[in-house]
């Protein structure tokens, strides 16, 4: 029996998606499902449990709620996301976008400078910041703050969380700036002109017009950047590996250290399931609230 043209096209479309489906299923969806299963076992990377993993029910989850390391990683993650993406990158990115909307000389230079930290691989970013933040009076940051009389110190040792927030802010200004620029360009200039005619001060214009009109863009930024910041791994791993003493151990680093340094795959997976849940929640909010067009 001959297929109609429509059925043939329908089959053709399905076949064209098979390779993509195989890759996504094999390396993302099945692992995500397996994480849930492994989180109910006592699987380990070495020792007796490695050869004979057993179902242990909710044991990993019970342990998780009484584990200081886990709560510590949640708090560190919250500070890291809040400090770098919600405050640092957002404020500097919005300010850059607004400054670059003016007829500024050397605009491409400023633009490129802000984009560069975002373009370099995480390892390179870690590498150059280790030099910036090294201990002793010769490191760049020590010399700069020395100008205002702050004594030199081992920055990644004494203020580790603040330092990774600074480094990640440095890396992500570009993202906020690009999004805010596209948000600002959607605001009609007549609105500003009308406000100025009515005698509004720049401060009033910013708080009463710019910010409210940017609200959808800001919301989008907060979601995407929170999801992205939670997922950061290489940048922190190259700088501190989560140390000293867990001070920079955001949840992704905690999972990695629990799984591959402490060899506790089952427990690491329980933490991973929590992290997956949070990420999926962010994704669902993104789709539902922003009404993504597909």
């Amino acid at each position: 029996m001959a297929m109609t043209y429509e059925t043939r096209v329908a089959w053709q479309n399905r076949m064209l998606l098979v390779p993509a489906l195989v890759l996504l299923a094999g390396f993302i969806l099945i692992p995500a499902g397996a994480a849930i299963y492994i989180s109910f076992t006592n699987e380990a990377l070495s020792g007796f449990a490695a050869a004979h993993p057993q179902l242990v029910g909710l044991k990993n989850y019970v342990r998780l709620f009484s584990d200081d390391g886990f709560w510590n990683s949640l708090v560190v993650t919250a500070f890291f996301v809040f400090g770098s993406s919600i405050v640092g990158q957002f404020v500097l990115g919005l300010a850059s976008a607004m400054a670059l909307r003016r007829p500024i000389a050397f605009r491409p230079v400023f633009n490129a400078a802000i984009l560069l930290p975002n373009a370099v691989p995480e390892v390179v970013a870690g590498f150059i910041w280790i030099s910036m933040l090294a201990g002793g009076k010769y490191s760049t940051v020590s010399r700069i703050v020395g100008l205002v009389g702050i004594p030199p110190q081992n920055w990644l040792g004494s203020l580790p969380l603040l330092m990774i927030i600074v480094v990640n802010t440095w890396r992500g200004i570009a993202f906020a700036m690009i999004l805010m620029t596209s948000g600002l360009s959607a605001v009609p200039t007549e609105v500003y002109e009308a406000a100025r005619m009515d005698g509004a001060t720049p401060r009033q214009i910013f708080w009463r017009i710019t910010l409210p009109l940017l609200r959808p863009t800001i919301f989008l930024y907060m979601l995407v950047s929170t999801a992205g910041t939670i997922a950061i791994f290489g940048l922190i791993y190259t700088l501190t590996r989560g140390g000293p003493g867990g001070a920079t151990e955001i949840i992704g680093i905690y999972i990695y250290n629990q799984s591959f340094t402490a060899y506790q795959l089952g427990y690491g997976s329980a933490v991973a399931v929590i992290m997956l849940g949070v990420s999926v929640a962010i994704g669902v909010i993104y789709v539902r609230v922003l009404k993504v067009q597909v």
């Binding site: 329908a10 053709q12 479309n13 150059i128 760049t140």
Partner: protein, 296 residues
């Protein structure tokens, strides 16, 4: 001279401080890479040398790491362009019931953090490696099994790494290419179909030329993502001769006592160069990258 308004002066002042903040960290790596006496600290070189760059390709492993990265990331980019090209086209043209669920699933998959998947992914890779090992042993002679597994293996082998990197970059590429095909009229394809062109002719003569900008954007962003990836090569590659640039650089930097700062700086510059160039070319697509398809 024109007088600056207060707002203008503020803008220039702010932008200058931001520029210094953004560029200052790079000063050290640039200067150290040409300084024969480079150290961990920023200093003006007393002499200038190209030795560190020469050394990458002559004396140390840097050249090999660079080559390894180029091969795996190049293969990843090619694979993603093909797979996402096919899938993105189908997603754009179909009206089947699974279209919307599939697209929403892509958005959700994009927010899953790789660190949360790494443990089960490791198990999937171990199992696949076992299957592939049995297959390889039944085909190749015993003395070349080791080298065959370095290419086709899933753990400490390139095939597995290429597939994992591809899967991680695939959702974004699918999205970009699908969006691109949405903007491409169907008329050309239909005209070619009427003229009796078969499927392969239509792909080669009509679809690929039409989709080239979309495929290019997806390819660039895949390259940037896979080139900078740290977690996958860290977890899945252990042999020294298979090592990729990010891990080689990281490990060399961890050897506390014998760090050759000039050499590593040169290597870091070489490593960031392709990413920066690709980023510069792909700039127009960046809003899409970050948001995964909100129409701006």
């Amino acid at each position: 001279m024109r007088k600056f308004s207060r707002a203008e002066a503020t803008a220039y002042g702010f932008l200058t401080v931001t520029l210094v903040f953004c560029l200052l960290p790079f000063l050290w790596v640039v200067l150290a890479s040409v300084d024969p006496n480079a150290s961990l600290f920023l200093s003006l070189p007393k002499a200038i040398t190209a030795d560190h760059f020469v050394k990458i390709f002559t004396a140390e492993n840097g050249g090999r790491w660079f080559f390894n990265s180029l091969v795996t990331v190049g293969a990843t980019t090619a694979l993603v362009i093909i797979v996402a090209g096919m899938g993105g086209y189908a997603l754009s043209r179909t009206n089947a019931w699974w279209k919307r669920p599939f697209l929403y699933a892509i958005i959700l998959v994009r927010v899953l953090p790789p660190t949360a998947l790494i443990v089960p992914l490791y198990k999937v890779m171990l199992i696949s490696n076992g299957v592939m090992g049995a297959l390889v042993r039944s085909i190749v002679p015993p003395d070349s099994i080791r080298s065959a597994m370095q290419i086709f293996g899933f753990v400490d082998g390139y095939l597995g790494l290429i597939l994992v990197l591809s899967a991680m970059q695939l959702p974004l590429a699918l999205w970009i290419i699908k969006t691109f095909f949405d903007l491409t009229p169907k008329d050309y394809e239909e005209a070619a179909l009427m003229d009796g062109a078969n499927v392969f002719q239509r792909i080669r003569r009509i679809l690929v030329p039409l989709a080239l900008p979309g495929l290019g954007a997806a390819g660039l962003l895949t390259f940037i993502g896979a080139w900078g990836d740290f977690l996958m090569p860290l977890t899945f590659i252990s042999s020294a001769n298979l090592q990729l640039l990010p891990i080689g650089l990281f490990r060399a930097f961890q050897r506390a006592n014998t760090i050759d700062y000039g050499y590593l700086s040169a290597l870091a510059l070489l490593y960031m160069l392709p990413a920066v160039v690709a980023f510069g070319v792909a700039r127009g697509f960046l809003v899409q990258t970050f948001t995964g398809g909100i129409k701006g």
